[in-house]
Symmetry: C2
Subunit: 325 residues, 2 copies
């Protein structure tokens, strides 16, 4: 959530000159991105987001991510286009780091979505899943159940330092998630991290889906489950917001109806989606010093969602007999 690299006006102007986007008028470092630096760039023609990838490890996946944006925006999805340089490249190297220029999309992230907004997000997710199915790029999901287990194993006994309930929760649910994780459900390229802060809303309309850096090939229904877990609760996970959950699924099904197999898998997929965030947050929690300036995300917010999904069964996903949205 910071800008890790200083780029002065001269650096930025020289960089921008490699693109056919006009001349630099303004540049502001923006507080987005966890491991990359971002600037909101204005030229005399338009605005753009400039991203500098600070970690070498991300470089291999860059063609996948940037190509996906181009594929989805060409298909009419509300995602930012990658701007290509004068030689047609989607990214360039600067001082040993990759940088990319993407389209700026307007919109603001909501904290308390309305049912109308959740419905619009569901529709946008359905549209994304249909469009991304024809994307040729490939990236495996490196956060599947065995990966969560590996993260918990690395936390070990320290899990109790976060919360005394946490070890019991993983012991209770991880065996189910590992043994009964679905196989053979329809796959596509999924966003895998579609939290409200990755959706730019223009009122009730979706203005943009952003931050595709967890995108990978996996079950479409798992992405529905992730999005459900991310949107349909108060932030602490203590209260399920039924009207939001229903509107999200109804919006999704208006574009891409779920098969019976997908629907039947949703309770387990949603329990797993919640557990995925427990795993990464628990690991990051222990990995971040107590006095660091970075705000740690509480793993218990998603532990409560794991518990909710385990107890609720089909109820959150069974829209039959309801009027829908």
């Amino acid at each position: 959530m910071a800008v890790y690299t200083h780029l002065g006006a001269e650096d930025l102007a020289a960089l921008i000159a490699h693109y056919d986007v006009g001349t630099l008028v303004s540049a502001k470092g923006i507080a987005e991105g966890v491991s990359n630096s971002n600037w909101l760039i204005e030229t005399d023609r338009a605005r753009y987001i400039l991203t500098m990838y600070e970690r070498r490890i991300e470089l291999d996946d860059l063609p996948f991510f940037l190509g996906l944006l181009d594929h989805l925006s060409a298909a009419g999805c509300p995602v930012p286009r990658t701007i290509h340089d004068r030689e047609g490249r989607g990214w360039r190297m600067l001082d040993g780091k990759a940088i990319a220029l993407i389209e700026f999309l307007p919109g603001v992230s909501v904290d308390h979505p309305t049912a109308q907004q959740a419905h619009a997000v569901g529709m946008a997710l359905g549209q994304l899943h249909i469009a991304s199915a024809s994307y040729r790029g490939s990236r495996a999901n490196d956060l599947r159940p065995r990966d969560w287990q590996a993260l918990f194993d690395r936390c070990g006994a320290d899990l109790a330092r976060i919360d005394p309930e946490l070890a019991g929760l993983t012991a209770r649910h991880m065996p189910d998630l590992l043994d009964r994780w679905p196989q053979g459900l329809p796959e596509t390229v999924i966003h895998a991290d579609l939290f409200p802060d990755n959706v730019l809303m223009l009122g009730d309309r979706v203005g943009g889906l952003i931050d595709f850096y967890f995108a990978c090939r996996d079950f479409a229904a798992y992405d529905v489950a992730v999005t459900h877990a991310a949107w349909a609760f108060d932030p602490t996970g203590a209260h399920y917001r039924e009207e939001i959950g229903r509107a999200l699924i109804a919006g999704y099904e208006r574009v891409r109806p779920l098969s019976e197999e997908e629907r039947a898998a949703l309770p387990l997929l949603a329990r797993g989606a919640a557990m995925r965030f427990v795993a990464t947050r628990a690991f990051d929690w222990l990995d971040t010093p107590d006095d660091a300036l970075v705000t740690r995300k509480d793993p218990m917010d998603f532990a409560r969602r794991v518990q909710f999904y385990a107890e609720a069964g089909m109820a959150p996903f069974d829209l039959q007999g309801r009027s829908g949205n």
Copy 2:
């Protein structure tokens, strides 16, 4: 250099509704400000900077700072206007913190100014000093020589932890600065921190002067000295850039000629201006943990400038016999 407070779309939209600025379209937290949080806000009409003052201590001075922006922009200086709410207030309280909305100005901060740019900055500083003389607000400079000495006293023997040269430098120069600091030079409201990152350039033109949070009543010539120390060196202070220093002073004098007393005081004022940044950087250096994520500014970059000004005497400030700019 971060956004310390989360404001969601709903918070921002509710806030914006108190102003006659249109409806919210986009909001990005920006990586500016040391002790406050800033957002670049776009409405359907224009763009603005929203600042949240995170520290209570700043609140008392807020009327001075915001009124100064209004006074200067009314006088034609390139500074952002304060946007007043529907009840005419220049700031509002939100969750116990003051927030203000100011005009967005385009432009980018340069790392390596040209002589033309330095000349334009000198002219803008002269214009500011003339306009601010009629500002009725009042704020004393709380970073004068005795305050630098107090900061060094608090650093004590730890100064040597920063650099073995530092204690000798302060012992050599602080007595002069304390005993011989000028009296009776013309006063006005000064910016007091006009580094390149506080000037938004549009090519060779000054698009905006920003970040007035050190502004106070003091000698106009001291502000010239601060700006000279901030612009006319390479970042480490090892090399004086004569053409930049001369262009800055020439630009200033085109708008506001220096009196003979002011010119004669410049070598000491500039040595003091450099020492002021040694003092605050040394104190902040020792006050910041070694492993903090914040980048510490090296006090030695300005210690080298102190040494330069002590040795150079009138040479950097004596433009006679030169063609000027």
